[in-house]
Structure formats: structure tokens, C-alpha cells
Symmetry: D2
Subunit: 311 residues, 4 copies
């Protein structure tokens, strides 16, 4: 496994086309696109990494997994009254379908849906309390207390987040926003500004592996369902392409991170800040595709016995 | 496994809400919604069935799997220049996204995309030759020569298929239809009118199981990719919901049939003519959900060893 | 003319279907829908009125005419770089086309376009100064200093204006909002909260009559163009219907007021708070239709000599 | 008036940018874009012309005026159950709104709406009879029997008309097409292939002038309403711009012709085959704008007495 990771990191390093760093969040725009890190946490407890796997990055929309998990913990399946579970077929910040569907976002992984998720786990708490709970959850999942919110990034996103404010007010106009727009946006932008390394993120994802040896933070049924949502909706309007090429559930963030789960086997984190046309990490997506080819870990392939986990 | 199937069939029989039979194809409108059949072909070669598993039904859009396989065999990945691989987020016969995207259908499993698929495997052949090839492929996959096209259903669909004609002409207006509209529509409607029993369909689906013991009609990579498309796009705008509830790749047809693949383990066919709000078999979807719960066959769960295939 | 107005007011009084008072602005929701007023200012200087023509009401979107006139005075035709001149075919607060067209609203009379207009005449001023200029303009046009902004209504709209905040942030995300969203929204909501009577509104509209005897507040070309925009875009997605039935350029507001211009002849104001399905005054629209029938003032009919102005 | 027309034709001749000839109808694609003709029929019976005013051209969508008039004659206001009266805000052949609105086209001047119009006047007749009636109506209006359908153009449009076939089948799928799609399309394409000169078209438009001296082919109310529709919907998604710049009701065709009505005064035809971005004649639109400026004939300006008709 270590050899494989090293090989993948070399392929990434040699690729001249690193994609484009997102420039709409000023605080993130200046990041060097040449960086690449990857880490894998296996169901047997072993961890492997390569490249810049210990450099912290802004997890951005990868946080939507943790937020959804918290929100499900709060209200359970009642959340599906306020947000759907279907791929949107449109860009992550599109407002179009929201109008067609009277303020019910398509799924919790597009921005509008994630605002509903944040509003759900925020209910009745102060932003500080809710964010405290989120960070504690992520730290517990990763078994690492050195995970923090980057206040500067959060403020940069609030200051430049007109599209998200637009979505939140739109939801509010349909009665699908319970706390105030400012409070939800503030919490949401801080949630997105959590910083983690690939190693931390891979470890934090283990509760979704669906293996008895892993942290049991959610029920078996719930972790499968979260994986299903990651498969169909995890990469915005590039979700079908990711499923086609990688064949594993994943969730990407505009900071260049992707968390992928190989059910029963592994939690995999990759990071490279340059993005492809869908707003997903370019080198990260390619690395995941290569990993899937080399390991046969597509969920659409023959399931191996768990002891094959080390490939 | 037999006990499980029998139990599922009993649950279906007792459900008073059978859904609504599709009424836009006159020849199918009169079918008794009380029927229910199910069959499972395991990777070890064994086959189980329950209910009306030997009653032939119109496979309709389930045929899009076989059509796509043929088309990929013809032109390989070049087909992706003419059709996408993303969920549409809209109804199976929507024309809306087609306008947004200049005549490139979202995926091969919505009607517009399937018309492109038919146009692809039809290229250079007569409809009779192309349909002959399709039927031979299905018969070979099922290892059963008693599979036929229902000419009356085909003609009924041609006569009432204004929406499909509209889609085909729209594609043609964008230059994404190589044969004549009438020829493609005629072939498409005959393809949809293939009749199979659940047993035959389960057997025919084995080539997608991704197990060495199964018929090797397509390469390993291709069968995984077809499964990925079934997962993200197989149930129109109910694909996310099916993935969430069932967790296995599947493809439904308006005739009430659904083919589901448990990679490495099984090919499963279910049939019940009443449909839910997405146009997918209501009892069939519920039966697949129950099967997934009882077997743990969700692709998002712990992979079992292959010998666990008998549950 | 007085007899005609009296007759129209009687027809309105007897109509049992008064429409529905808009309820999304709390401060306006409690208004008695039984009220009806109408006033006509002729090119010869005479003024006629009937019903509740001296009751002040919230002019709401009728203010968009005055706002556009101010904005054109500020930047002239440069405003057309930021807003279009085409009917939207959609509801007054739709955000759909805004996404299709990258943040350029369809026309200055839907909410998104009016926010751009407000942003234009606001540029470089404080809201207080800009609103002062607006009120002075309206007072000068009406030759009446007793015209004021209802502060309570303005605050009620700001507090409940999620949809407008959504539109404004959306515009801002496309760089089509120069002042801050809060500043523009505050100014916009105060502008909408101007209160006028039918008599005052009819008098204030005279500068659009295009007659030499009228106040020359804008050039001949500009007043014709504003009339053209009122004709094609003045009633949201009911503009075509209004042109078809009334045949004169008009602009409605959700407070139940409508200002209509008979070029060369008259400025006509009507008010009744109950709305039809397009969000335009129901009795007001019907009164204008009756007036058009009785007078033959449709711009699509034979032009009479100006001395026929008294009908 | 003759001097004015001559001047306008000279301005057009000197304009180096003639626009682009439509190339989607093969039979029309080869036309020389340098041609320009204009003719004006005044309410007093006099006729003026300039340039290529006696060269026959394909009136294409200008025919929708005559078709609507026939259809209104057949079924009166019942036609508004099958087609709306609102601007579409989208291209002439867009199918998008049709899906949103369940098969009711926005107005009779976009292609989908015109297909409903054709289906209406066709009802119960053979295409030959219906087209005979149409041609007789146009000849009577123009008082000229030398007006014919170009069979080659009609066939070229049928052969290349995938978009229109798509629209017609879409309407049929919603039950909004009573005759067969082939029959309606055949009739529609022949209707569009009527050939007229500018002089003939100007004369044919006189029944819409709304002056007692003109042919009384429709009631006063109906001619005003047709003018209203021309104003709000006559130039597809460029209708607002045409109203803004020209200020008179008009209807354009992709063959480069435009018919404009100055109510009470004149019927004006212009022709130049090169189109602007909305699919309307470029030089023709500019000529109409110049005419409006020179004459003050905007319906939004001071109505002159009828004897001012000679300018």
C-alpha cells in the first residue's frame, strides 16, 4: 500500500496540469497549486501516507459530511422534509432548481442543502456551541485534538459569500431557514474553514468504513446511507463522472480536498488545491482514479475478503 | 435465499398499495397491477425465484442496459462524445436540460440518451439486423432462446410516442442523430418491447456481476462502469432515493421491471407493474429495499467474502 | 370624463370579487380590499377623480418608474449595460433567468432590475440623500409637497424581504451591485414605501404623457422609451395580457396601485388593494380595461386629435 | 414620405454590416444579404416604396399574423385556451417554457404557438383547402392575386425542420395538437413559404391599421389586440428592444421581412435578408428605427391628427 501511495504521489508530481485554484475565496486564492498529499486509513488500523499528507488545508465542503452526520444525530430522518436526496445535475451554488422546487434543496451536499444542514444542527444553540460540537466530533473521529477552524478563512468567506447569502435568503423566503440568515451563514462559513491534514481527514473518515473495527459513531444503516449520498451527490454536477471513473463514494471540497470511502476497507483522503471544471480537485480526482484501478476497490467490482484490504 | 425470496413475495402480495400502472402506452395500460415476481441468479450459478417469476413482461427501459452494452461494443468510449454520464435530476422524458446543453443528453438511461444509444448500435445496419443483434445478445446472456419482441407493444409505443419523437427530432436538430428519426424511433420502440420473465432477466444480468464464474460478455472495467451508471442514473429523478434505500446499482423500466446487480454476488430481477411517483415499480423498489436490508448487500456496506454469496 | 370615472367606480364597487390583498408584506396585509380610487390628469391640465382617490396608499413597484427616471438622469443609456429591456416571462421576484443570464436582470421593472436601478441612482450618495432626491422628484412631478415615505412599511419590508435580499446578493455575486447590499435594500424598501393618493399619482405621471403642455422632466425620446418599457414589462408575467386587454403602457405595484399613460392625452392612476394571479390590482386592471373600451385610448387604435382628449 | 423612404434606403445601402442570412433553411441560405426594400401604405390609400420593394421574398414568420387572424376567425377567443398571450423571454424555437407550462405555448408568434394556430385554422380541412384559404385571405388583404407559395422553400423547411417537428410532437404529447403532426407541419411550412414583395406586404397589412378607410377584415377590437400581441411578442426575445427602439407593433420573419403597423396611419413593410442576434432583419430593424425617429410615429408619442398621416 505504501508503495502504491508513493507511486500515485509521483504521478501527481509529474503532471504539468495542476488545475486552477479557486479564486472566489480570497484567503484561499494564493495557495500553491503544486501541493499534493494523500493518506489512507485501513480498517485494520494501519495508516499510510505520501506527499504533503501532513500539511493542513481548508476542508471546505468535505465538512458537509460531518455536518450532515451531526444534523442526522439531532433530528434523524426528519431532515429529509427540508432537503432532498437526489443529484442536482447543476453547479454547487445553483439557485435554479431551488426555484423549481419551492425552496427544498436537492441534496445536503450542494450549498443550499448544506445551509439547511447547518441550520439543523445549529437549532437552539449559539454558533459557538454548535461549532464546538462540530469540532469535537471531527477531533473524536480523527482521534486527534489538533484540528482547528481558520478564523481568517471563515471571515474571508463571509465577506465574499454573496452567493451563499443569496441562497440562504432564498431558503428563508420559503420558510426553510429557522435561525437567522446571518447566524446560519456565520456558522456555515466557520464549518467550511475547518483545517485538517490528509492524515487527519483519512482518520476522521473511518466511521464511514462500515467495519466493526472502526469507531461506531453512527449506526450501520446511517453510515451506508451517507455513503450512498456521497456516491450520487458528492461531486456536484461531476458526481456521475466520479462514480464512473472511481467507483467509490466521495466528497470533495473547493479547497482541493477529497474524502473517499472504500466500504469495509479504507478511508482515503487526498488534497491538491488545483480544481477541474466541476470544482473538484484535479490531481485528487486523478489520484483516486489511479488508486481505484490499482486496487480494484470500486464498489461495483468483486468484493474481496476483508483481509485483502492491504491489497 | 429461497426462504427470503418467498418472504419478500408474501410481503408484496399483502401490500394493498400496488402503485399505478403506466397508462401512456395503451398496450400496457390494461395490465393487472396485482402481479409480482422476483428471481435471483447467484455468482455460483444457482437461481431462485418467487411469485410470478415466469410471467413474461415488457422490459421497456431495462433494455437500455443491453442497448448501451451493444453501443459500447460498437464505438467504445467514443459514445461519450454524444451522451453524458451525469444524473439528470429531471423526469425520464424531460427535454429541458437538452436545451440547456445543446442536444447532448445527460446520460444513456434517460430517454434522450437511450435514443442516442440506439442510434449508435443501429449505425450502418437495418433496424431488423440491429434488433436481431440485440435479441441475440440478450438470449446469449440469459442462455435462453425463448426471448422475443412483442410487436403489438412496439407498434403501440410508436403510435403513441409523441414525446420520444419530440426528443429524437430535437437531437436531430442538434446533429446528434445519425440515422433517420423514424428509423431510430422504430428500433428504439422495438427494443423497449422485448419481453422477458424475471428468471430470464436475472440470468441475462449475470454478465454485470463482475465475478469470474459469470459470462464474460464485457471487460471488467466496462461492467463496473455500467454498474456505476446504473447507480447514479438508473432510476431517473429517483436515482438518489434508490441508492439511499437499496444501495445497489439498478435499472428500472416503465413496464414494472427492475434489474439490480450485487457486484460479485448476484443479479436480481423483480417485476410488478404498478409504479411510484418516479415511474419506477413501487412493489419492486420496496422488494429490493427489503432484500438489501435482509442480506446487507448494499455496496456501501462491509464486503463479504464471495462464499458468503448464499447469505 | 367625470361621468365615465363615476361609472367605472360604481362597476368596481359592485364587483364581489375584489382579489387577494398581498400578505407577504405584513404592514400591508391588513388593508381593506373593498377600497377603490381612480384619477385622471388630462393633457389640458384638468383632473377628474372618483372613489377613494384621495386616500394615500403604498405605491410599491409603481415607484420603479420614478427610480428608473432618476437612474437614467444619472447615467443615461449606460444603465443598459447592467439591466436588459426584455419582458421576463416570469414572476416579479424570479431568480431563474438571473442565473441563465449571469446576473443581468431582464428589465428594470422586475425586482432584480429595480435593485440595479436603485443601486444606480444611489451611487455616491447616502440613502438619505438619494431618497430625498427621489421624493423631491415625485413631489415636483405631482406639484404637491404632501408626499411622504411610510417608515413603518419600509421597515416591515426590510424585515420580511428575504427574496429581495436573495436577489441583491445574487446580483452582488455577479458584480452587478456597486453599493452594499444592505444600503441598496434599505433604499429600495423606502422607495417602495412612498405613499400617494390616486390624484397625486395621476398628476405625478403627467411628465410621461408626451404632450407639450406637460412638465418637461425628461426628453421626448426618453419618455417614449419609458412608456415602451411599461408596455412590454410593466406587469411582470401579466404584461402581455395587460397590453392585450388595455392597450396602454402601465406599471403596477403590489400595494394595488397602477399608473397608466395614454400618450398625448392623459395620466391615469387607479388603486384597489386586492390582487389578481399576476400580483396586479384586480379591480384596477378591470377598471383600466373598461376605461380603454369606453375611450378607445388603446395605443393600437386610431389616434384622435388632441382636442378629443375629453372623449 | 417618398423622400424619407429614399433616404432610409440609402442609409441601408451604405451600411457595411448587413447581418447574417439564416442558414438553417437550406433553400434560403444562398440569398444575397445586400438586398433592401421598403414600402409604406398610408391610411389615405397612397403607397410609397424604395429599394428592392418589388422583389418577392419568403415572409416566413410574418405569416403568423395572417394565420392568427384566420384562427381567430375560426374559433374566436377559444384559441386562448391553447396558447398564451405573454412574451416568452426566450428564443423563437425554445422548448424550455413549453415543459414548464405543460404544452401551452407562451404566445402565437413563437414557433410552438404558431403550430397551435395552424392546427386551429386547419381543423376539419385538408392542408390544401386551409392553405387555399390563407392565400386567398392574403391576396384579398393586399388586393393582389399575384401572391404564391414557394413549393421548393416549403419542402426545404419540411426536410430540415427537426426543431419544429420536435415542438409539434411535444405539443401532441400534451394533447395540444388536434390534427396529425405531419399534416400540421406540412401546412405550417407551406404557410411560412408564402412569397410577397414589400409593396404587397405593406398593402396586406392595411387591415391592421385601425382606420375606417382601410379594409375591414377584422373587428376594431380584434385588430387592436393583434397589434398588442405584435408589440409584446412580435420579435421573439428581441420584442422589448424593438418596442424600446421603434415603438410600433411589428412582426418579423427569418426571411428578413418585417411588417410594422402605425395605428391609424400606415402599414409598413421592410425586407433585408441579413439577421441580427435575435433572428430579426438587421437592416430592417434599423430602417424601422430611423423611420420612427423621423416621423414620430411611436405609439408612445403624441398622437397626431389623421391628416398628419403624410408626415
Amino acid at each position: 500500500m505504501q508503495d502504491l501511495l508513493t507511486e500515485i504521489a509521483e504521478v501527481a508530481a509529474e503532471n504539468p496540469d495542476k488545475g486552477e485554484v479557486a479564486n472566489y475565496i480570497p484567503e484561499l486564492a494564493g495557495i500553491d497549486p503544486g501541493q499534493f498529499g494523500m493518506a489512507i486509513a485501513l480498517a485494520d488500523g494501519s495508516v499510510f501516507s505520501a506527499g504533503d499528507a501532513d500539511v493542513p488545508f481548508s476542508i471546505q465542503s468535505v465538512s458537509k459530511i460531518f455536518a450532515l452526520t451531526l444534523a442526522l444525530g439531532r433530528v434523524g430522518d426528519q431532515i429529509w422534509r427540508r432537503v432532498g436526496r437526489e443529484p442536482s445535475g447543476l453547479a454547487f451554488d445553483s439557485i435554479l432548481l431551488l426555484e423549481r422546487e419551492n425552496g427544498i434543496p436537492r441534496n445536503p451536499f450542494i450549498n443550499a442543502g448544506a445551509l439547511v444542514t447547518t441550520d439543523t444542527y445549529l437549532a437552539g444553540s449559539s454558533p459557538r456551541e454548535a461549532l464546538g460540537e462540530l469540532v469535537r466530533f471531527v477531533r473524536a473521529a480523527a482521534d486527534d485534538d489538533d484540528i482547528h477552524i481558520n478564523e481568517k478563512v471563515a471571515r474571508s468567506e463571509i465577506a465574499s459569500g454573496h452567493r451563499n447569502f443569496s441562497l440562504a435568503h432564498y431558503l428563508a423566503s420559503h420558510g426553510n431557514m429557522y435561525s437567522s440568515v446571518d447566524k446560519v451563514l456565520g456558522t456555515y462559513c466557520h464549518q467550511c474553514a475547518v483545517e485538517m491534514t490528509c492524515r487527519q481527514l483519512a482518520l476522521a473518515g473511518r466511521f464511514l468504513i462500515d467495519a466493526d473495527s472502526m469507531p461506531a459513531l453512527v449506526s450501520v444503516e446511517r453510515r451506508r446511507r451517507i455513503n450512498a449520498l456521497m456516491m450520487t451527490c458528492g461531486h456536484y454536477d461531476g458526481s456521475g463522472d466520479f462514480a464512473f471513473r472511481v467507483g467509490m463514494p466521495g466528497k470533495s471540497g473547493v479547497g482541493g480536498g477529497i474524502l473517499v470511502i472504500s466500504p469495509g476497507r479504507a478511508s482515503i483522503a487526498v488534497w491538491s488545491p488545483g480544481l477541474n471544471q466541476y470544482g473538484n480537485s484535479k490531481l485528487g480526482t486523478e489520484a483516486m482514479e489511479l488508486l481505484a484501478q490499482k486496487t480494484g476497490w470500486s464498489v461495483f467490482g468483486v468484493p474481496h475478503v476483508r483481509t485483502d484490504g492491504d491489497v
